[in-house]
Structures are given as C-alpha cells and as structure tokens.
Assembly symmetry: C4
Homo-oligomer: 296 residues x 4
C-alpha cells in the first residue's frame, strides 16, 4: 500500500488570493475610487508604512506652512525647518508641550486647521484599523486534491475540508460547481457553471473535518467525463464554503478550485479520525492531504 | 452588420441614486430624526465641510463663554476674542500648550465641559468616519440596454452585468421583476410587481460578466406584450443584484431598471469574451454595452 | 360615503417598544451582565448624562487620590480639591497645559494610570457612540387598523405598510402570523403561532406603500372565526417586516400587531395613489390610515 | 406526583464554551496568526491586563531609547529612568505638560515616532474595544434535560428554550441534529450528522419560552433507539438557535447538546405558563428546568 501525497499543480484559474488568468481590456483599474478596498487589501506592513508616510508628509507640509508665515512659533529658531516640523508633530498629535507655541494670528489659524486635521486623521485611522482588524478571515483548509472513488457502488467525487481554528463553525454550508468552457451554437466562447449535487451540503456544527461527496450519477455534469475531456474543456471544480465563526460571530467564506490534474481517480483519503487507547477520539491533521490507492 | 451603441433615455422611474418620480403628499421629510441617514448620504466634501463648520462654531461659542467669565485665561488679552478662541481650540483638541491656561474656577469648569465635549465629538466623528468609510459600495455594471432575442427558439430577455472591481463576488444572486401600472376592478390605480423566471439566477463565483436570461414563454408576464403596451402600462424591468464582495466580506447590492425604450428587439450583445493568440481568455469591457442586429 | 379614521386601542400584547404584558417570575433581571444592551436602549439624553456623570466621578476619584498623596502637583494649592480635580481633567483629557504638573513619583504613577484609563475610556466611548449611531432603525409605517374585505370574492385580511424614508428598501419581506391562546388536551395554557399565507410576501424594491393581503380561505387559521372568538382566544395578528435599507446598507426590521378591535370588517383603505394632471403619480400619505365602508 | 429536577452530567462532547473532547494531532495552534480571535476570546480582565502591560512595556522601551540618546529631555535628570519613563507617558498619551520637553534632534525624532505609535495604538484599542463591546451575545437558555414523551400518540423528543433577556428575538429559528459514531463498511470511524424534523422550527417573534418538538416516527433517526444504543454510539442531540436580537439588531446564535443521560423518558416539563387572578399571563422561570413523570 503506497501512500501518495497529493501534489498541487501551479496553474489554475482561481486561487485563494482571488486573481485570475483573464486579460481585461477596456476595464478601468481606477483604484482611487475604491480607497477602502485598496487599504483593506494591502498587507499590514504596507498599511503601517502608508500611514507613517502620510503622517510625516502632513507634518512636513505644515512645517513649510509655518515657515511661510515667518517667525510665528515662540522658541522655534526663525527659518529652522526641524523646529517647526517638531512643533507640528506636537500639535497634530495634540501633545502640546508648550516649550514652543503659536504667537501670531497666522500660526494660530494654522494650529486650528492642523488640530482639526489631526482629529479627523485619527478618526479615519481608527475606522480603518477597526475594519482591518475585524475583517472576517476564514481559516478553512481544503485538501490539495479531490478524488473520484466508488462509494456505495457509485463513482463519487470527494474532497476534504478542515477547520484550522479550535472553535466551532455554525451552520456551515458547502456548494460545489463545475465550470467548463463551451462553444455555443452561435460560435461564442462561454464559461458555464453547473451546480453539482452533494450528499450533504450543510452541517449545523463544523469543528474538525468534513468530507464533501458528489455522486457522479446520470444527473451529474461529470457523468462519463474522462480526465482528457476535463483538460480539453478547461474544467474546474469550484468549492465555496460559508459558515458562522462562533468566536467572532462573523460569517466567513472560503473557496477552492480543483483543476483536472488535482482530481485523482481510484484513490481514497487516508483515515485521520481514530480512537486513542483511553477511548478518546483523535484526529491527525498531518495526514489531512494524504491519499492512497483503493484496494481492489 | 451595423453595430448599435445602446442609448440611455433620460426618463425612468428609478435610477442609481434612488430618487423616483412620484409626488409625495403629507409625508414628513423630517431629516432631523435621521441624522445618521443624512450624514451617510452627504458627499465627502459636504461631510468634511459640515464637520469643519461645527468645529469652528463650537470653538467660537466656547470663546464667547470664556469671554463672558471675564479675564479667566492666563496670558490671554482681556476681552480679546481671538485669544480665547485659540485657547478653546487648544483645549478642545486637547493640545494644551500651556502658554494660555485657565486660572479661575469659571474657566476651569468651562475647560472641564469642553474637554468632555471634545472627547465625545471625537468619538462621534470617529464612528461617522468609519461608517462612511466602510459603507459597502457595489461597483456592478449593468448593460445600458436589455435585448429580446431568440434563444433556443424562445424569445428571451437578456441583459448583462459586469463586476467593475478586480475581485470575486461570492454567491451572486440576481432577481428580475416586471412592474406595470394597472387599474383594478374597483378602479384603483396600482403598480404591480411580477417576478420573472431566469435561466440562471445564482452564481457561486462572479468575477467578470454574466448574461441574465429570461425566456418569454407562456408563464412570463411579458408573453405577447408589444413595446406599445409596455409604454402604455409604464412597464419597467427591475433588476436587483446581491452578492458578497470577497475583499471586504460585505454584502453588496446593486439595481437597475429598464424602461421600454431601453429594451431592444432582435438585437444581440456583441461578444466580449475571446481567446488571445497565446490561449488566454480575454475580455473586452469597452464593448460591454454594444449590441448588434441578429443575422436572419 | 362616510370616512372612518381607524382608532388605536391602547391595550395590546406587543408594541413598537417591545414590552409585553406578561408577568415574569423567577427570571433574573440582571442588567449588569448586559451593559451593551442597556446602553443601546437608553435614550440619548440618558446616555450623554451617564457619560458626563462617569467623567466627573472618575476625575473626582482621581482628585481624591492625588490629594491622598500629599502635595504632589506643582502649582496646585496643597489640600485644595478643586485644583487637583482640574489637574485630573487636564490629564484624563490629555490636555496637559503644564501650569500644573506632577512632581512626585506618586503623582507621576497616578498620571500614568489616569492616562491609560483616559485612553481606554475614549476607546469605549467611541465604540459605544458608533454602535448607537449606526443601530439600524426602520421607519416603516403600519396602518393603524387591518381590514377584512372581499377581494376576488374571498374575504381577505389587508393591512398597509409604508416606507417613511425617501429611499428604497431592497428585498423587502413581510410575514404575518396569527397567535392565539389555546388549552391543550393535557390542560396546559399555550400561546400558539400560526403562519398565514400572503398573496405576495416579497418585494424587490419597496419605496412607497404596499398592501399586504391574506385571503381567508379554508386553509387560513382565521377561516370562519368571528370577532367574538378573536377576543375570547386573545388572538393577535403579528406582522414582521424585513428589508435592506439602501442608504445605509443595513438590514432593517419592523413589526406591528393587531388585536381584534383593530381588525375592521367590510371596510376598505382609502386610495392614496393617484395621477396628477401632468401625468405624474402622486401619493397622499395624510390619508394612509383612513378606511371607508365598502359599497354594497 | 414526584417532581424531578433535571441533573446535568458533566461529560459531554460540546459545551457552551465550544471546546470539545477530541485530541488534535498535527494541527498548528498558531494563535499569533489570529490575534483578533485571541483578543476576542480573552476575558475582560485579561484584555485590560494585556493592554495595561503593553502600555507600560511600550513606555519603558521608549524610556530606554530616550536614555540611550543622552540628556535629551529638558528638566529630566540625566540618566534617570523614571523621569524619561514619565516623560514617555506624557508623550504617548499626548498629554505634554511641558515641564519636560525634548530638546535634542534625537529626542524630537523619538517623540515623533512615539506620537504616531500612540495614535495608532489608540486607534487599535478603540477598534478592539468596539469589537468586544458589540460582539453579539445570545442569552438563550436551554432546558438542562430533553424528554421523550407521547404527544398525540407519538413518542416525541422535547426540549425548552427561553429568552433570558426582556426583549424580542425576531425570526427565531431552531435546528436539531443527531450525531452518532458509526463504523463504515470500509472500517472507518465516522461521526455522522442527521437532521431531525421539528413540528415547528421557526418563530417570527420569540420573547418568552418555546418548546421544541421532534416526533420520533419512522423517518426519525431516533426511531426504535434505546438509551443503551444511544450511549454505545455516543449519540448527541445538538440544538442550534438563530435569531435577530431586536434591541441591538444583531443576529445571535446559541447551541446546546444533550447526551443520552440528559434525555429522560416518560417525563414531561412542568407548566410554567399560567393565568394570574387578574387575568394576566404569567411565566415562572424558576421551574424552567423542572420535569415530572407523566401520569399513566
């Protein structure tokens, strides 16, 4: 009995990050209309870097404005950029040591503007931080490969999902679709979706692992389809997962896709649920992706 | 083969902004009971202007209050409005340089009140900023026109939607309704909604474009209806779109309506999906709204 | 033709505020485990009053603590409560004029603690403000009375709902239940809910008004029930409304109940939709609740 | 007639806290990838302790950095850790009394960094506070035991739920599943879920109590199953509850599980709904969990 660790081919239409191999012509990529979207998709390092850069830049601009007003800050050396820059920091962050303070009308008006900008910047940063912080993230693991194996005499497409967190996912729901490229009678190129029937697509409480099963009977769009046909029609099996993360009370979503190379025939998943000697159930996640040939 | 770019008539019952051409009698337009609604519908410029105005106004009022208490601020010139105004700014924004500071009980009490108001104002502004920031916005494009064209021998109402963002929309759902004005047997004027059957109203993963199709068979409320009848009964085809924006994990909604002038007979949408020479799929959004006559 | 304005009896089981006339024995009313719930249900005046009171109290307690440490604040008069109280305000609100400042280790430690408490209090107040601010509020109006009137030859229970806001409610859904008191065979007293069939319970776009209709046919739990029976069994018609407020992208909920006195027989609602001379549709909300006898 | 107060056995697979008695092998418990999850599951004391510790630590680190720059803070005693620590507090919390202030470039740069970190820390703490504050919490009570008792001649599994809050839960939904350990034909150990049919699984308005009933007819997975079989197959009855808390407009979730020991045969729940002398309905929550033998 040879164990095969499922390999993941690099080429597929979708991946976890949600990019896809389609050339877009004529579509505007105007990120600036979606600052919120952009900020939420930046990594943490870039987000913090952007905020820091904005903070330094804003203070530098205010420093220049203070300089432009002449000698308006008490105890700042006239014409010294660094002095008014640090004065600006003390103002925008609302520290106000008072060793430097505005003494002219011009400087006072600038302080008024800067204080308002500082408060609004803080409000925005807070909103953004919270949005980033609370963005629901699913840590749902999909098996690297799907298998097709007889189950109750019917060839059945199977894949495994696992909850990587140590909590419960309530009202978990799984949907599997088959997408294939087709040429319509009018000669158009089309990607069509087919819903696929599952033996069980809902779980009220999902904590550990779940094997999703689609019987390939006559009603299945995979009925009688060979691996060659799958490749030719650029078929993909798309799995979407939805559930309620009990810890944060947020709906989480995950998805995965399997291209023909990742769908293995006549293999089965290695058992990972067993009983320990003291009667407890135990689960071995280290073999979650492992498959082995069926014995027949 | 002549290509026709769909024109958009200006008159229709609903539009993206959600106003509608109905005269409301006796309905209170009491915006003040809905400050949150009003603030969320203001444009960014007006929102920022409103906040700035409120900030200046509040500081001016406190300045007057400080003046009313006599000479209570150390280092402020007695009776000088600007001095106490800037002192108020330094207090409300919690800067507190200390060049000016309260020296009487009256001024200290005012400072206490102002500090609390400043903190609560900051809390409110933060909440509002976040709400504005995180308001889910759908960037779903609807074709400017709908068409009626034979599909598998049945006249079929078709329209196209596209995701303007470069991300995935999960569990996308489309609903199409027909609304028409009718006179009931009792002589009442009524706007009635009819649900309309779609060949496919759900997509687990929506990234690019989707053609929505309603076959006009005997069960359809559009069966046997001519453009003239459509105009006479003030018919509108209303399309609502719902889905989960994967980037922000928010449910987004979009809607569109087509009046009879925007429903074209015996046209078809120009193909925008094609294969590039190196075998990649490509989509040409610049022709998304384009239609052309069917060849027959 | 006499017009009758529907009167609203004062006694009913539920009302908009969600209290109900049932005596609860043995249930803990431990509000303190639900501070968030309590704070969200307080009116704005009480919320602001509570926050202000907490602010004053916290500063007073810190003032006492500063006093207890002896003469630790520079420029505060020894033993003077007001001086250290205002110093505390300047610290908690992070103003820090600097006219008073801590000079002993004890005072400095207190300042450290107070600054942290101030920041966390601000964080909490901000969270609370936002939650209060963004709590979705439905402004859906239910007609004061429901009517039972023939419609297509079948006696039909009707009631009206209206959107009080000038926006759209998407995917509006209405559910009507009948609740009645029953004695089970075992002699238990029971309040049972019956779902009630509606001619149309969903509207993709709800902007103005909507007449909800339940035909009282043999399958209806109201079939053959007289007003007397309704009173005897303490029947109530409960209406729940759900929809998506397009402006704020929030799901809103509203509900209403009708007791037998509010269900009028052989009346009909006054028309409020009409055409103006220039062909526009017009709606007269001032007569929304009005009913009149049917002509027969 | 002896009253039996249902006892709660300590051993069961799931509990309110969401831990479960399964050994996980090979699963990463990498909490650091889920700081949000961890912070939301900590109790309030630990959360506040963690924030306080972080605040002290950050200020201590900045104090060391100020010291490393030599004598950069005016009025701080050279080399004195406490002085620069308190200066750091005054800076991070943006108090800035000004008795101490930065006088060197090095110190000013540190102040700039610290002010930004202070603002971002405040933003994060605010986001976290709000998330903690607004986490929807269900206070739904499940009866300690479930019972099996004849109802209309059919043995029926019953359990009770109650709303512990004095508000309404809208669109309440209950789902009951049976989970049992099975050995598949291939010899695998499996935990299988079975959905269970309920007489009523939905309530438009849930305020007080609700008895959930599952008739054990031929279609039930409990049909003909004895307590011994239940124990042997490690059966559990899992109940999940979903609804909309009207006060906070949040969807709440609750769940409970019953192991065989908690499922009592031929008992019934004690009546808790009755009429007071003045005709009001009354509910006695103190006997909510109580059961008594049926009379036969």
């Amino acid at each position: 009995m040879k164990k095969t660790r499922g390999k993941i081919p690099k080429t597929r239409k979708i991946n976890r990050e949600g990019s896809y191999n389609v050339v877009r012509i004529g579509a505007s990529n105007n990120h600036w209309r979606d600052p919120y979207h952009v900020l939420l998709t930046l990594c943490w390092y870039k987000t913090l870097g952007l905020i820091s850069f904005g903070y330094i830049l804003a203070n530098a601009l205010f420093a220049l404005a203070y300089l432009a007003g002449g000698n308006g800050i008490e105890n700042a050396r006239p014409g010294n950029f660094l002095d008014v820059f640090f004065f600006s920091v003390q103002t925008m962050a609302s520290i106000g040591y008072g060793a430097m303070y505005p003494k002219t009308l011009y400087a006072n008006i600038l302080v008024t503007i800067e204080s308002l900008l500082g408060l609004m910047g803080l409000a925005m940063a807070t909103g953004l931080m919270f949005a980033r912080f609370s963005l629901p993230t699913a840590r749902v693991l999909f098996s690297h490969v799907a298998i097709i194996t007889p189950y109750n005499g019917i060839p059945t497409l199977m894949l495994r999902v696992a909850n990587e967190r140590q909590n419960w996912i309530l009202e978990a729901q799984v949907r599997v679709s088959l997408v294939r490229t087709q040429i319509t009678k009018e000669g158009d190129l089309m990607r069509r979706f087919y819903d696929v029937h599952l033996l069980r697509n809902h779980s009220p409480l999902f904590a550990l692992t779940w094997t999703i099963m689609h019987p390939i009977d006559e009603s299945s769009p995979l009925y009688g389809v060979s691996t060659e046909e799958m490749v030719e029609d650029e078929m993909e099996v798309i799995v979407t997962f939805t559930g309620l993360d009990e810890t944060v009370s947020q709906t989480i979503h995950a998805r995965h896709s399997y291209i023909p190379k990742q769908i293995l025939w006549n293999m089965r998943f290695v058992d990972i649920l067993s009983k320990t000697r003291d009667g407890k159930r135990s689960i071995d996640y280290s073999r979650f992706h492992d498959v082995m040939p069926i014995d027949n």
